[in-house]
């Protein structure tokens, strides 16, 4: 960490203002970032600062910039998105859609029921997603609105019924996603979907 202008914090082991800015803007070298992360993992004061500054930056009026995209380009992108990402309920996705991908960018599967953002009735809702080829195992995860996992289950089926011990509270938003792992090691995911309770 640089030893330059540490504005108010007397303890010289804290991150400097320059360090905090470089960390948030991702302008550190790999070694600097690792050192900063090592420090942040053990220093509540500096973690509070980077969190507070990130919140300030996200909320500041000057930081909001609306990207200008030509209308034609935006329409073409939207059409391409629809053509390549939407799968019809009940149909298998083409095998080319299921590709070997790193953990950070799984291929997409479609969800069927409930539709994203739908309100589900009380009881034990059934959640359904599209199948993929390759003898996959599906891992289902349900989280609350804060992202806290509430229930996970593995299955080879393309639907799951929430068990009675998973109690959905009224007027809440829940998130769910399904990760698929094929026998050949390739992966796919539905991405995060949400539903609400009445």
């Amino acid at each position: 960490m640089s030893a330059s202008t540490n504005v108010t914090i007397d303890d010289t082991t804290h991150l400097t203002a320059e360090d905090v800015a470089a960390f948030l803007d991702r302008r550190m070298t790999a070694a600097e970032r690792l050192e900063a992360e090592e420090h942040l993992a053990g220093c509540g004061e500096c973690r509070a600062e980077v969190t507070a500054v990130r919140r300030l930056i996200k909320g500041q009026p000057l930081a909001r910039r609306i990207p200008v995209v030509p209308a034609g380009l935006a329409a073409a992108a939207a059409i391409a998105f629809l053509v390549f990402t939407i799968a019809r309920p009940g149909r298998e996705l083409p095998d080319s859609r299921v590709r070997a991908v790193p953990d950070e960018s799984p291929a997409r599967m479609a969800t069927v029921v409930p539709a994203d953002g739908d309100t589900v009735p009380p009881g034990s809702p059934v959640l359904v997603w599209s199948s993929i080829t390759g003898e996959p195992t599906y891992r289902f995860t349900l989280t609350d609105a804060s992202g806290q996992p509430l229930w996970t289950s593995a299955t080879t089926d393309t639907s799951i019924t929430l068990p009675p011990q998973v109690t959905l509270r009224p007027r809440q938003t829940y998130f769910w996603y399904v990760d698929a792992l094929r026998a050949d090691g390739r992966a796919a995911s539905t991405g995060v979907r949400r539903f609400t309770t009445p």
């Binding site: 504005v7 203002a17 320059e18 948030l24 991702r26 509070a48 930081a63 996970t152």
Partner: protein, 219 residues
């Protein structure tokens, strides 16, 4: 890495005489007042206090021939506006401490929330290891003692993790940040990626706890 020092700041720092410095300072204030004022308003209880804090920040930025601004220019890694938010916030906290003898509420920790988040981490890492440890009942007098022992084991297990993973767990389960905030802070592609990584880490921690001998509720 692209140069981050804005032109208006460069002109201020190279101004040769008093009148040039005054003119450059006026332009600097014109350009960045809104940002400094925004930070000041977030750290002051009322309008007057925020204007006082704003004036304090500008005074401190200009003192000693703009020592702080020169410090940024010499480093120049982060964006200037990010750096200015960091420094303005620190100065506003200083101002608040000097005036009121304590930091404003924004800077204080929510201890109860942190404890709750910390307890969630213990629960999540021990569910499959030892359900009794994770949720001791009130009629189990040894429950709290075992929980303390478990937390020590958890600390030990976390110590062996790489710094980015420890930071991720700490932000989520100690500081109670949402996945969206963590994704923004640590540059994950989405909250989804944060939760996936957290699930992987929790599984790894469970394995480490088992290796540390946390298998049974009985010592």
């Amino acid at each position: 890495m692209e140069p981050a020092v804005p032109e208006v700041l460069e002109r201020l720092l190279v101004a040769a005489d008093e009148s040039a410095r005054d003119e450059a300072w006026r332009r600097f204030v014109d350009q960045y007042s809104r940002l400094v004022l925004y930070v000041a308003r977030r750290h002051a209880p009322d309008y007057d206090a925020s204007m006082d804090a704003y004036a304090f920040v500008l005074e401190k930025l200009r003192e000693h021939e703009c020592r702080r601004l020169r410090g940024y220019a010499a480093d120049g890694r982060g964006k200037f506006t990010t750096w200015l938010v960091v420094v303005s916030r620190r100065l506003c906290l200083d101002f608040h401490r000097h005036r009121y003898g304590r930091a404003p509420a924004e800077a204080t920790d929510t201890v109860d929330d942190n404890r709750a988040a910390r307890r969630r981490l213990v629960d999540l890492t021990t569910t499959s290891v030892d359900a009794a440890l994770a949720s001791p009942s009130s009629d189990d007098p040894d429950g709290n003692v075992r929980r303390v022992e478990l937390e020590r084991a958890l600390e030990s297990a976390m110590t062996g993790l790489p710094a980015p993973d420890r930071l991720l767990l700490t932000l989520r389960f100690h500081d109670g940040l949402s996945g969206a905030e963590i994704a923004s802070l640590l540059h994950f592609a989405s909250p989804f990626h944060v939760y996936r990584r957290l699930n992987q880490l929790l599984a790894a921690l469970r394995e480490r706890l088992v290796r540390l001998g946390v298998r049974s509720p009985m010592p």
